[in-house]
Amino acid sequence: GAGVSQSPSNKVTEKGKDVELRCDPISGHTALYWYRQSLGQGLEFLIYFQGNSAPDKSGLPSDRFSAERTGGSVSTLTIQRTQQEDSAVYLCASSLAGSGDTQYFGPGTRLTVL
């Protein structure tokens, strides 16, 4: 079946602009995660959704970052007033949500802030 998809695959933006990154999880997966992969920080957790709720936002680096999930499916990560340090690969993962369930990762969105 279809895996996790993300769009766009690449995004180049200017400092100060807002960007939206999209994630389509595997159908039926109630848990959705956003991670960030950068050279300096490795792989970092950003936010976790269970259904449309986000019980864990502890990894969001600043209030410029926000995310939402609608219909228990698609999620959007929004970065306002982008900074150069936001440049990274943003990864989305989904799982069935049970304890120990495997997280399936999307291909990522590479964000470059000029």
Partner: protein, 114 residues
């Protein structure tokens, strides 16, 4: 809080030689343990995971990892590597309740030489 340490950032090894990629974790609670692989220009894929039961877990392509509770380790091994195993390998832990978010190590880049 949990943390994962992968001490080796790069491991070069000749084809058909054995390899061990080290992973140590720290946690105040019981965890699940995972190894993910990222081939060049591809997304993260699950290699194997430990949830409970037998402490030795195996993947379909010849890798194995052993959970050692006393040493808080989950080292990945393969008795004979192939060129195609060249990739970056990430160790991760998740808690057994709550959000199940992953805490990743910094990764080990395995380079198999002909």
């Amino acid at each position: 809080a949990q943390s994962v340490t992968q001490l080796d950032s790069q491991v070069p090894v000749f084809e058909e030689a054995p390899v061990e990629l080290r992973c140590n974790y720290s946690s105040s609670v019981s965890v699940y343990l995972f190894w993910y692989v990222q081939y060049p220009n591809q997304g993260l894929q699950l290699l194997l995971k430990y949830l409970s039961g037998s402490t030795l877990v195996e993947s379909i392509n010849g890798f194995e990892a052993e959970f050692n509770k006393s040493q808080t380790s989950f080292h990945l091994r393969k008795p004979s590597v192939h060129i195609s195993d060249t990739a970056e390998y990430f160790c991760a832990v998740s808690d057994r309740s709550g959000t199940y978010k992953y805490i990743f190590g910094t990764g080990t880049r395995l380079k198999v030489l002909a």
